[in-house]
């Protein structure tokens, strides 16, 4: 196994073309992820035609670059604008955006970038070592297990609702109801369309996400006349310097949280159909519970 890993490592690191393609792919991924509404999957699909002329290793390296870069790009838009660039960065908005607004954008970006880096490294090591066993575990998941996982994820909305269980449950149920609008995937029957053909496709996830986060934030910002006319941050005119050192220290100081979140990500990631959109909320919930 180690010889295979070394061979793969050598074919990437010793090949400047592959490294260059990975660099370009990561850059494109960051740009794609930073645009609210532009998912990582869309970025990878757009990259696919460019890989037709490449070797298998180069093509995979480029698409992985886009994929990984997309996650980092997503955290930038959600921290700086409060709009999650990707569904997997929703939880980053909860604390990242207030931290930016409080005048610490450099630290917020640093925490996001370095958490992504460490989490990525941990998951890479574990996946390389245990991929076959984890894949077996993932494929063992049946319909009831999925149902339980989704119910578990939904119960978390209650714990994120700031102590008011009723309101948390109502918010979760409203979300579930919104997902039922449109054509039923099993029977192909229209539900709650009220005669409008546009409703048949239901509500797309990202526009709802942008509407919920961006528009509500906009209305809060303009609520007060004085606040509406003043800069959103006290140092909005200064150049932001990412606080790498402090961010790394904070993350490593809370290494238990780092490992726990990484394991949650790995476990959710190996399940077919589940992914970043669920794992980020699960990890956030656990982190919040452990620090309160």
């Amino acid at each position: 196994m180690i010889d295979v890993i070394l061979q793969a490592f050598a074919s990437i690191v010793l090949d400047p073309v592959t490294l260059g393609l990975m660099f370009v792919g990561t850059l494109a991924g960051i740009l794609a992820g930073a645009i609210p509404g532009f998912t990582i999957a869309m970025g990878v699909i757009l990259t696919l035609p460019f890989t037709f002329g490449m070797t298998a290793v180069q093509g995979l390296a480029t698409m992985l670059g886009v994929f990984v870069g997309g996650f980092s790009g997503g955290l930038m838009s959600c921290m700086l604008t409060g709009i999650p660039g990707t569904p997997s960065s929703v939880a980053t908005t909860f604390d990242g955006f207030p931290l930016v607004r409080s005048g610490r954008p450099g630290l917020a970006l640093g925490l996001g970038l370095w958490s992504s880096f460490f989490g990525g490294m941990i998951s890479a090591v574990i996946l390389v070592a245990l991929a076959p066993q984890l894949a077996f575990l993932g494929l063992e998941f049946g319909p009831w297990d999925y149902f339980s996982l989704i119910i578990f994820a939904l119960t978390i909305t209650v714990s994120l609702s700031g102590g008011n269980i009723t309101k948390g449950l109502i918010a979760g149920l409203l979300g579930l109801f919104a997902a039922t609008v449109g054509e039923d995937e099993i029977n192909g029957v229209a539900r709650f369309t009220f005669g409008f053909d546009d409703f048949k496709q239901g509500f797309a996830f990202l526009p709802v996400l942008i509407g919920l986060f961006a528009f509500s934030q906009l209305l809060t910002d303009v609520e007060d006349d004085k606040r509406a006319k003043s800069p959103l941050m006290s140092q909005s005119g200064t150049v932001v310097k990412v606080e790498h050192r402090q961010a790394i220290l904070i993350i490593l100081k809370r290494w238990v949280n780092l490992f726990r979140s990484s394991f949650i990500g790995i476990f959710t990631g190996i399940l077919p159909a589940a992914g970043g959109s669920i794992s980020n909320i699960l990890a956030y919930d656990q982190a919040k519970k452990s620090f309160t």
Partner: protein, 162 residues
């Protein structure tokens, strides 16, 4: 017993659930084996109704500080609190209503300029700033979509005739 924000929201939710449960009876049943298409939405709506009822009772029994009868929330203050949000909504509705005639370019510039001016103030310096911001930002956005991404944005009757 006093009326607060939670009471109003709970009543609104109960009305909403009532309308939606009524609409769920109109969901077609193709007669396939298994669960009907209306099964899960009805369950969700029933649970939502129960939770809304709980919220209504809780808001009446133990009112929070969202009391609408307090001094700080008289009708004038409520209007002032939601004035800017109402302006945003009104401007956006106007933008959508005139989109077919003005198009994305002219409509967008007018929308951004109008919103900035109504929220930001009216003096000459600000109006010049708002004009520049609206023309430049919408112009760049329109150019990127039209020439860069080749996405056809609503042209509008005015530009079409011109």
């Amino acid at each position: 017993m006093s009326i607060n924000k939670d009471t109003i929201v709970a009543i609104f939710l109960l009305l909403f659930c009532g309308i939606m449960i009524n609409s769920s009876f109109d969901i077609e049943d193709p007669g396939y084996q298994g669960m009907k298409a209306s099964f899960w939405p009805t369950i969700v709506l029933c649970l939502l109704s129960v939770m809304s009822l709980v919220m209504l009772i809780k808001s009446m029994v133990s009112p929070t500080d969202n009391n609408l009868n307090s001094e700080n929330t008289n009708s004038q203050n409520i209007f002032l609190k939601y004035k800017n949000a109402s302006i945003c909504f009104l401007m956006f509705i106007l933008f959508l209503a005139f989109l077919d005639y003005l198009g994305m370019l002219i409509g967008g510039v007018l929308f951004v300029f109008g919103l900035l001016t109504l929220l930001g103030g009216f003096d000459i310096k600000k109006i010049i700033n708002h004009s520049i911001i609206s023309i430049v930002t919408i112009g760049i956005m329109w150019s990127i979509f039209t020439f860069g991404l080749k996405v056809i944005l609503p042209e509008g009757e005015i530009l079409r005739i011109w």
